[in-house]
């Protein structure tokens, strides 16, 4: 059997194992181990396993991941989401659909200190869903808004998925974060526009709430200072060179931890919950990282990624078609897979391919541009049926909203996502502009 055949069998085996509910990281690890044995005998991989877990877990660039998770978990206990939502409601609530827009704005702000989509969705739902219901918002709209808003947790830096992409491709994490900023803000604005269109079509779905006076608005805004301080310290500190991204995450974790402590958010076993939350998220991610390392080592042995890059590079199609095909594949995969697994599985194959094509951009910029595009499309998977984790979380928390209604509520935001993806593909300057300005 040729190495190529073994490689294809390995991929097929991986997909079958995943379909049979073998955890993704484990499936990649087992497929990687068995595949490497098939190509190169058991000696090599068995020797590799004596160090592989330690190597993967002690990767300095990945140390940022548990620290960002810890930061997000502390932020959830610090009462910041309530402050953010209250402030946004005071400013936007009196418009039709204003509470929904306020939820989006608060999600964006919370996303600026939380690196995870699910945590953002869950945290904001607790705060915003009861309020929207109290004012007569339709459940489908309310839950759809929060599911989509949750994706801002990843789209707005800091972002765990971006960290993984940067580590896989050797890009600077700080540049990736800067590049993600404008597309992230665009996402928030796009979602607000989607709400606007929805309430124009169906005014009953989202009644207005009473207008709030300016002095009260300003006071509410002032109360959100910790979020601004933490975001400016972490992202600003990384950009200004006070510390590296990993150190920035450490600073963010320490600051949110202190704040949660001062605000009384760590009482009565809450610290234990912070740790358990961080533990689950960290172990889940590093298990996939470990599995991907084994599986990608196996793929490299078979030579498949290089062959794929050569084959597609040899095709006589414009680069943009290749890019479109990849993005479409991500959207399709996103219906059933999570973003992190997708990035870890596919970037080692797609990245060399993209870098071999000419998009009229310098290689460093193409790498960042593709990273942001990949981030945006894989994150759409969080809200697409049949498996959309954000939708699951919010639907479960809403108690009684039919899943169908929540998925229906998400549709306008999916439309907004697709339009934004088209814009980001057509105009790389949206993604790269701020970075060019700052570096």
């Amino acid at each position: 059997m040729s190495d190529t055949t073994i490689g294809l069998l390995g991929i097929a085996g991986l997909l079958v194992a995943m379909a049979l509910r073998v955890p993704v990281g484990l499936a990649m690890l087992v497929a990687g181990i068995l595949g490497s044995m098939a190509v190169a005998g058991p000696m090599g991989i068995m020797a590799g396993l004596t160090t592989l877990p330690v190597e993967q877990f002690s990767n300095h660039a990945l140390s940022i991941v548990p620290l960002f998770l810890l930061m997000g978990a502390f932020a959830g206990r610090a009462g910041l989401s309530q402050l953010l939502f209250d402030a946004a409601r005071d400013w936007l609530g009196h418009r039709r659909g204003g509470l929904a827009m306020a939820a989006i704005g608060a999600c964006a702000a919370f996303g600026s200190i939380c690196g995870s989509s699910l945590a953002t969705a869950a945290t904001m739902t607790r705060v915003a869903l009861p309020e929207m219901r109290r004012h007569g918002y339709h459940d489908g709209l309310a839950t759809g808004v929060l599911a989509a808003g949750g994706t801002l947790g990843i789209l707005i830096p800091p972002s765990v998925v971006l960290v993984i992409y940067a580590v896989l491709t050797g890009q600077n994490i700080d540049r990736m974060f800067i590049a993600a900023l404008v597309p992230g803000v665009l996402a928030a604005l796009g979602y607000m526009a989607a709400i606007r269109v929805q309430v124009m079509l169906n005014p009953d779905a989202a009644p207005a709430v009473p207008r709030i006076g300016w002095s009260e608005r300003l006071r509410g805004l002032a109360r959100t200072w910790p979020v601004f301080v933490i975001f400016v310290t972490v992202i600003g500190g990384i950009y200004a060179g006070v510390f590296t991204p990993t150190e920035g995450a450490a600073v963010g974790a320490a600051a949110t931890g202190l704040f949660a402590l001062v605000r009384g958010g760590l009482r009565r076993g809450a610290f234990t919950e912070v740790v358990m939350e961080t533990a689950s998220g960290t172990a889940m991610i590093f298990m996939i990282v470990l599995g991907a390392a084994a599986f990608n080592g196996f793929l490299a042995l078979t030579g498949l990624p290089m062959q794929a890059a050569e084959t597609i590079g040899g095709l006589d199609v414009p680069p943009i078609v290749v890019l479109a095909a990849i993005l479409a594949l991500y959207l399709a995969l996103g219906c059933i897979m999570d973003s992190l697994s997708m990035i870890l599985l596919t970037v080692p194959i797609f990245y060399p391919l993209i870098m071999a094509l000419d998009f009229g951009l310098p290689p460093a910029e193409a790498a960042i541009w593709f990273g942001i595009l990949a981030l945006v499309v894989v994150e759409v998977g969080m809200i697409t049926p049949p498996v959309g984790l954000n939708v699951f979380v919010i639907n479960a928390m809403s108690g009684g909203t039919p899943m169908r209604d929540t998925f229906a509520g998400v549709i306008p935001f999916l439309v907004s996502d697709v339009l934004r993806i088209l814009a980001l593909v057509a105009f790389p300057g949206i993604t790269l502009g701020l970075m060019r300005l700052l570096y």
Binding site: L20, P53, P66, L118, V242, A250, G281, M337
Partner: protein, 213 residues
Amino acid sequence: MSRADPAPHSVQGRGEKASRSGGPFRTGFGPVGVLCRLVAMAGGLMLVAIAAMSVISIIGRWFAGTSIGGLEFGPVPGDFELVETGTAIAVFCFLPQAQLARAHVTVDLFTMRAGPALRRALGVVADLLFAATTALLAWRLTIGLEERLTYGETTMILGLPQWWVYVPGVAFMALTALACLTTLTATLRGAVPPTEAEAAAAEAGTASEESRR
């Protein structure tokens, strides 16, 4: 499937959560469960220590070259190494508990509507595979430990022995295998592994404390 990212998970054994999160996967598990949670807490403290050390190091580096009351400012020597090694130890600490909490991502597409019997059967297979793989890794890590002891390799800056990190590596990889056998036993006794949707629902139950206060 899906956890696009770190999902907050409920773990603690409070009644209301346990009932919401589908029984024994989130709490209990007897002495093994207690041990796994203790080890996870140790990992959490390790992370907090890493964060604190980094902050001290940044302050020291920022004021490098100055001194106050005879105290010379400077970065913590080998801070990068400490972060790397500390993170590795923390991850090893988290693995056993993550298995008990069913934190690992699965693809549900083809099994979402499967009955409990099928899901339990698949759960048994996955747990067996997980137990075997983590046992294999624990065994291979003992070889890694032996080799580090033989060759006496150290870290670049601090000269810390490389074998240190292998000790929690071996111990907690073995504990992870034990945790897999524990969930396996629970499944054999009738527990049904949660779907991603159920896991997400349980997570949501504890995702945020603030609104409860």
